[in-house]
């Protein structure tokens, strides 16, 4: 609107001046002058036409705007005239800024963001790490720090700590234990989904409002209460199209019915960042029946994380002391702490209070180091980019000194020249910044896809935040101004005549020092980056060339969950035999391995092990249960003694196979066959019958990890606890080795497996 008005005024003024000149010419012609002379005289008399026009337009206050447009046009023309320079600067800027903004967006999303809950500052977590994961007994610990707790401990904490407005508990290891859910109705299919068991006040603690229906309340979490669940917003939208009939409908979870009472609020992905956020939130008390987990109400089994909302004005130090005191009371009742030895550990028991606003920081712990490293690398890249651009701008500025001198000599104002160059720099920097933002958006999306392959609802937004945009722009503009205007300023200070006379020699010494500094800086930073990149690619190469000591050819892995399917401990041996028989009946299947975990899965068990004849040899060792075919089916070589065979049933003497790392750690590399190992209070439980290669479990970084293997159903004689309580007997994977690739293995497996054991 304003621009149009300016243009109109401008043409009008031109017309007005023209009509003035015509009238003056006409008067002179009337007085007898020739038309050509008259015109010339009229123009001369009028004076400097453009200047008059300028001064007149200034009366309207628009000249600044016009000059800016002029400067911009001129700057664009200048940049077009040097495409190589422009492209180099733009690409450098885009790369430097883009990489930083992308990585900062990710860091911001993963490391710095609070959960989308009300007043996250008042949330406090009991415990500080996620190594205490999933399910396990307390055990006495040297350092005495605990982060997950039994249901009993949770209830006791909740009752004895009025400092908390609400204290909620949540399942520590839900990510590893999917459930099978099916909406009521004949045509609906059962699907493996993620579910998290949480206390009734879970949503109240986080201060959330339902997306639909209602959220869980304490009454849902009472023993004997009707089974209820809350569905996640994403699942509601993606799987059920936001159908409001979901609220109040019946679902079959692990073959047991429950009512979905509501939907979690939009944007809430649970209490921690996870690759696959929970689809359902279920009350803790339904776990015993839904997941067949006997440990829910076992006072000795820890499986819950605890986060609470502290009442305002509770001093943290006091709260910490009180939490520890209650914990010690709770732990004092437990088996591990009632022995003389155990009591001595009690004084050290504590749970470090940490801010809970960011939730359980599993992912933050997992990715924190890498993200910080990325951030440093990106920072160095940006510095190099800035030095590079500064250099280019300086050289360009020096190259244009003659041009500047000529313009000065022609009467251009210094301020005007500096302003022109400033416009040019800012334009360049802004363009670079915009490109960088585009790159940042694409880049953070790409990083997310790399970090969470196949996840359909990633709990992280790829959009760069306002802070990131501001940061990126400020940085690009600052670089542009600093290094674009410096040479202009220097040359504007020089006397044009001098500059013209001696070319670029007069002030060259001052700037070349700056230039040299920049080059040195650039080289130094590049070297740092190069060394980093070299080390990185070397370790990547090492990881890639790691011999995992397993054979992936013609192998299929089927995941099962007999525990969730409701199989009890005594039924398992028969179930495993059925599975073995049915798969062996499939043409082409060579080996059927059954185990708790297969190599390179993201979890496994771990126990404190002792050698019977050498009480000094003790420590943690990985633990996997496996059947007779297992080692062959994954391609693990038996290097000494024997593997398992079908005679290693629950009634046979308990045996174990250890890997070479175990042999090295516990026996100093000596022959371990015939030796007995076990837990500290029963060190003679298992006789070692074989040694296998160090196959990589859990993570490629754990390639030389001591491990021991035990037949699927063998329990040591000393273990008098009921078989129902031993959840290590539940297999998680079936590894099939086939003679040749078999199409449709998934379909075959689902037909063969007893219904509801499959995942």
């Amino acid at each position: 609107m304003k621009m149009l008005e300016i243009l109109r005024r401008k043409t009008e003024l031109r017309e007005e001046i023209e009509s003035h000149l015509r009238m003056a010419t006409a008067d002179r012609v009337a007085r007898g002058e020739s038309p050509v002379d008259a015109r010339r005289a009229a123009v001369r008399e009028f004076g400097n036409v453009p200047l008059v026009a300028d001064v007149t337009r200034e009366r309207w206050g628009w000249l600044r705007l016009e000059r800016l447009a002029q400067d911009l046009r001129f700057a664009l023309r200048q940049l077009r005239r040097t495409p190589a320079f422009t492209t180099t600067v733009l690409l450098t800027l885009a790369l430097g800024i883009g990489a930083n903004a992308a990585i900062f967006s990710l860091v911001n999303a993963v490391l710095l963001k609070n959960l989308p809950v009300s007043d996250p500052k008042r949330l406090v977590r009991l415990g500080d790490n996620s190594h205490d994961c999933c399910v396990g007994r307390n055990g006495t610990r040297e350092e005495g720090a605990y982060s997950n707790f039994s249901t009993d401990t949770y209830v006791r904490l909740k009752q004895s700590l009025p400092e908390f407005e609400e204290l909620a508990a949540m399942q520590a290891g839900w990510a590893y234990r999917p459930v099978i859910a099916r909406r009521d109705g004949a045509q609906n299919e059962a699907r493996s989904v993620t579910a998290e068991f949480v206390s009734g006040n879970y949503f109240a603690t986080f201060g959330l409002r339902p997306g639909a229906g209602r959220l869980l309340i304490d009454a849902d979490d009472l023993p004997g209460a009707p089974a209820t669940a809350v569905m996640s917003y994403e699942t509601w939208q993606h799987e059920f199209n936001g159908d409001t009939a979901i609220v109040g409908s019946t679902f079959w979870v692990n073959t047991k019915p429950l009512t979905v009472v509501g939907v979690a609020p939009r944007g809430f992905f649970g209490d921690r960042m996870a690759v696959t956020p929970p689809d359902f939130y279920l009350p803790i008390q339904t776990m015993a029946s839904l997941a067949n987990a006997s440990y829910v109400n076992d006072p000795e089994t820890n499986w819950l994380y605890i986060i609470g909302r502290v009442k305002p004005e509770v001093p943290p130090a006091l709260l910490q002391e009180k939490v520890n005191a209650v914990l010690r009371q709770a732990f004092a009742m437990q088996r591990d702490f009632s022995t003389v030895n155990g009591k001595s550990f009690l004084a050290r028991v504590h749970a470090t209070l940490t801010p809970g606003g960011e939730g359980i920081q599993t992912m933050q712990e997992g990715y924190g180091f890498q993200l910080h490293l990325l951030m440093w690398i990106a920072g160095v890249v940006l510095l190099i980019a800035c030095a590079n651009i500064a250099n280019l701008l300086l050289v360009r500025g020096m190259g244009r000194r003659t041009e500047m001198s000529v313009r000065l000599a022609l009467g251009a104002m210094r301020g005007r020249i500096v302003r022109q160059l400033l416009t040019e720099s800012i334009l360049l920097a802004s363009l670079g910044g915009l490109l960088g933002l585009a790159l940042a958006y694409g880049g953070s999306r790409m990083l997310l896809v790399l970090a969470f392959p196949g996840a359909q609802n990633v709990p992280i937004e790829a959009t760069p935040s306002l802070a990131v945009i501001g940061f990126a722009f400020a940085l690009s503009v600052l670089t542009g101004i600093l290094f674009g205007v410096a040479p202009a300023w220097i040359s504007a200070q020089a006397r044009p005549a001098d500059a013209l006379r001696s070319g670029t020699r007069t002030t060259v010494s001052g700037t070349s020092l700056l230039q040299r500094t920049l080059v040195v800086l650039q080289a130094a930073l590049s070297l740092v980056l190069l060394v980093g990149a070299g080390l990185f690619s070397q370790s990547l190469g090492k990881l890639q060339n790691t011999d995992l000591r397993l054979d992936a050819r013609n192998r299929y892995i089927v995941h099962i969950n007999p525990q969730a399917a409701g199989y009890s401990g005594i039924q398992l041996e028969a179930l495993y035999r059925t599975i073995e028989d049915r798969f062996h009946a499939v043409p082409g299947v060579v080996k059927v391995g059954i185990s708790t975990y297969a190599p390179m899965e993201d979890n496994r068990w771990s126990n404190y092990i002792m050698v019977q004849r050498d009480p000094g040899a003790k420590g943690l060792a990985g633990f996997v249960r496996a059947n007779a075919d297992y080692f062959n089916s994954v391609g693990t070589k038996v290097v000494m003694g024997r593997g398992f065979d079908p005679r290693d049933t629950s009634n046979a003497p308990s045996v174990a196979v250890v890997n070479q790392a175990f042999q090295q750690k516990f026996f100093g590399g000596k022959n371990p066959i015939g030796q007995r190992i076990g837990f500290p209070d029963s060190p003679g439980d298992f006789e070692i019958v074989g040694v296998v290669d160090n196959t990589v479990y859990t993570d490629v970084h754990l390639k030389d990890d001591p491990m021991y293997f035990v037949p699927m159903m063998q329990r040591p004689a000393s273990d008098k606890s009921p078989i129902e309580r031993d959840i290590s007997l539940y297999a998680g994977t079936i590894v099939l080795e086939t003679a040749q690739p078999i199409d449709g293995m998934e379909r075959i497996a689902s037909k063969i497996l007893p219904a509801s054991t499959q995942i």
């Binding site: 009008e12 007005e16 009509s19 008399e45 008059v52 007149t56 337009r57 009366r59």
Partner: protein, 119 residues
Amino acid sequence: MATRSSYQNRIELLQGTLDMLILKTLQWGAQHGYGISQAIRVTSGEVLQVETGSLYPALHRLERQGWVTAEWKQSESNQRAKFYKITKLGKEQLASDYERWEKMVATIEAIMTSRRGVV
């Protein structure tokens, strides 16, 4: 060169008087820029020559102040030209300018004709 010599004994306009002169000229009727400059020149007996470099900025300033309005019309010589017309506000401004001018002239007159030490 002949045209130029006839303006040689022109005098510089006093600061701020150009607006008043333009407004006064416009009191006789709407006029374009060239007409205004000619009118001032003729009326002043060829003594005052308004510089175009100050005339047009002044006209646009007056227009912005709302003391004159402008309109495109055919001139007497059948040229399209921008005619300026004094507004009511402009007339008031002219009156107050004139009053101030008279006061100033009287004051200057008093100073110039007084005798030293008489006060």
